[in-house]
């Protein structure tokens, strides 16, 4: 029964890792950019949700927080436009390295901005205790913290709508076309810059959702940005870097390992659970650098 609970916990936590990995993978797949700033986007999301829900626009704390998430996401769309236009666009055609350096800079800018605006004290979301009650949610014999219900629902919604967009709509085909051959895509009236901008938008919104969940679990501090990067990266790598479906599977697998293997080992080596994602990252990099679900390129001879 303990094991079952660990599995459920792992999968539940994994959903939000999957969402962060999706954010990372999309930028990599469409723009060929390794986005080191993903954790800082998560952090910014947490603070913006904190700020917008702090306005207390509605009475009900749950709706208030959801409204905060929506307002933060709208703000995120604007930041996405700025990111593409002013940071990334000047570097298109330059080396991969300069693009990575730019995302490092982006991360520092975002993180720095949160420190300037909100300082370094630990914050919690308004109505934290009503929205995420300390008593766990029970399904039969299994108990999981309330916050994971948010994680599962949020991940389901964002993933479901994204996959629909990506696999079934003209927009999704255009996005995939740009990721495969930008020049050919442009000859069909697809604006590459716009597709890149939309991709950043989706990446920001996904990261902000993760900010809500990680902020609720850990409290809102700069730690969230490191947690975010340390989960998004291994999950994305396990998933093969360029596959959105793989990102979610990678997230789930990472959560599962963390909450089963990690929890077991924690009894012998206290604290080891916290570094399990890094160990997984190392192992994946060494054993299978292109991940478990990476795209198999079609080679015609």
């Amino acid at each position: 029964m303990v094991l079952l609970e660990m599995i459920v916990m792992g999968l539940a936590a994994g959903t939000i890792y999957g969402v962060m990995a999706l954010s990372f993978v999309l930028i990599y797949r469409v723009g060929k950019i390794v986005n080191i700033a993903v954790g800082d986007m998560v952090l910014l999301g947490a603070y913006l949700i904190f700020a917008f829900s702090g306005l207390g626009l509605v009475e009900d704390p749950v709706i208030n927080l959801i409204l905060g998430l929506i307002l933060a996401s709208i703000f995120g769309l604007v930041i996405a436009v700025g990111t593409e236009r002013f940071l990334m666009r000047p570097l298109y055609g330059q080396s991969i390295l300069s693009l990575i350096m730019m995302t490092v800079a982006l991360g520092m800018i975002l993180r720095g901005a949160t420190i300037v605006k909100w300082g370094t004290v630990l914050r919690v979301f308004p109505g934290q205790h009503e929205v995420f009650p300390p008593i766990p949610f029970t399904i039969g014999p299994i108990e999981i913290p309330y916050v994971y219900l948010w994680s599962i629902t949020g991940a389901f919604l964002i993933f479901g709508s994204f996959l629909y967009l990506f696999r079934k709509t003209l927009f999704g085909f255009a996005m995939r076309a740009v990721s495969l051959d930008p020049e050919a895509a442009a000859t069909h009236g697809i604006s590459i810059k716009k597709i890149y901008t939309y991709t950043w938008m989706i990446a920001y919104v996904a990261a902000f959702l993760a900010g809500l969940v990680l902020g609720a679990i850990n409290g809102i501090t700069v730690i969230v940005s490191y947690l975010g990067l340390a989960r998004a990266l291994p999950a994305a790598l396990i998933g093969g870097l360029d596959s959105p479906g793989g990102a979610m599977l990678g997230g789930l697998l990472l959560g599962l390992i963390e909450h089963t293997v990690g929890t077991f080992l924690n009894a012998y080596i206290p604290g080891i659970r916290a570094i399990i994602p890094y160990i997984v990252l190392l192992v994946v990099l060494i054993v299978k650098p292109y991940g478990l679900f990476g795209t198999v390129r079609i080679e015609r001879v």
Binding site: F173, A186, T187, G189, I190, I298
Partner: protein, 262 residues
């Protein structure tokens, strides 16, 4: 009517590739651009379509006019929206998309059209594609991939199709089939076609008019009948006459650059 007036194309930093080309492409006609490897055929089509902008190139002199509007140096997606679609040489299918998705990606610039009707419109000319619509486009044969990229260009109902060496690497029978379909679409849809080709004989079978390019300049132009009977064309491009057969099937000296800037 598509008009090129004394067009020069320069690539960064100062590489002059097209050196003052003038052409006229009347509505509903098929016009061939003929020449050997490196003559500048692709560059002319890329200049019209705006694709040179993604390869650090630009029209540095002269102008390009389409239905009275100046279009030189517009970004490629803008040119596409005006109804001019460029089909790259070498069959750039989106290999991880299925045939149907690949075709529909071509519709993105004209979202007002109904996707089902648009697909049927293409399948009508290329029934083979319909049979393989669920297959990944990277798995199609060379001929089918050529049909796919032409179909993907047609799906948005363009006014002008800029076709870059559709015969490249295809078996003669398949070339005949592809060219027959191009002619058919030209006749029944009134589609204007600019066809860059090394396969002079095939190109002049369907074109009404041709321009022969050498070293980035027009060295000869005229109606298809006139060109096909021209001794120089016969000698150098059709392999008839004293010089004998010349092979133009050399390996491409220049590979398409993926790098681009705004």
């Amino acid at each position: 009517m598509l008009i090129l007036n004394n067009v020069e194309v320069t690539f960064d930093p100062f590489i002059l590739v097209v050196k003052g080309v003038s052409m006229e492409v009347p509505e509903g006609s098929i016009v061939a651009i003929l020449g050997a490897n490196g003559a500048g055929k692709s560059t002319i089509l890329k200049a019209i379509s705006g694709v040179i902008r993604m390869e650090r190139g630009r029209v540095s002199h002269g102008f390009i006019q389409f239905n009275g509007k100046r279009i030189e140096n517009l970004p490629p997606e803008e040119v596409a929206k005006l109804g001019i679609i460029y089909v790259h040489e070498g069959r750039s299918v989106f290999e991880e998309l299925t045939v149907e998705e690949d075709l529909l990606a071509g519709l993105y610039g004209r979202r007002s059209l109904d996707p089902k009707d648009a697909l049927e419109f293409v399948y009508n000319y290329f029934p083979q594609l319909k049979r393989k619509r669920k297959l990944k486009s990277g798995l199609l044969s060379g001929g089918e991939q050529q049909m796919l990229v032409i179909g993907r260009a047609l799906i948005s109902k363009p006014d002008v199709l800029l076709l870059d060496e559709p015969s490249l690497g295809l078996a003669p029978k398949v070339v005949t089939e592809v060219f027959r379909t191009i002619k058919q679409i030209n006749e029944s849809e009134g589609l204007t076609v600019v066809l860059a080709e090394q396969n002079v004989r095939k190109a002049l079978e369907i074109a009404e008019y041709g321009y022969v390019i050498e070293g980035g300049r027009v060295v000869l132009h005229g109606t298809a009948e006139k060109l096909i009977r021209n001794p120089d064309v016969q000698n150098y491009y059709l392999g008839i006459g004293e010089a004998g057969r010349i092979s133009y099937q050399d390996v491409k000296s220049y590979k398409r650059r993926k790098r681009w800037i705004s």
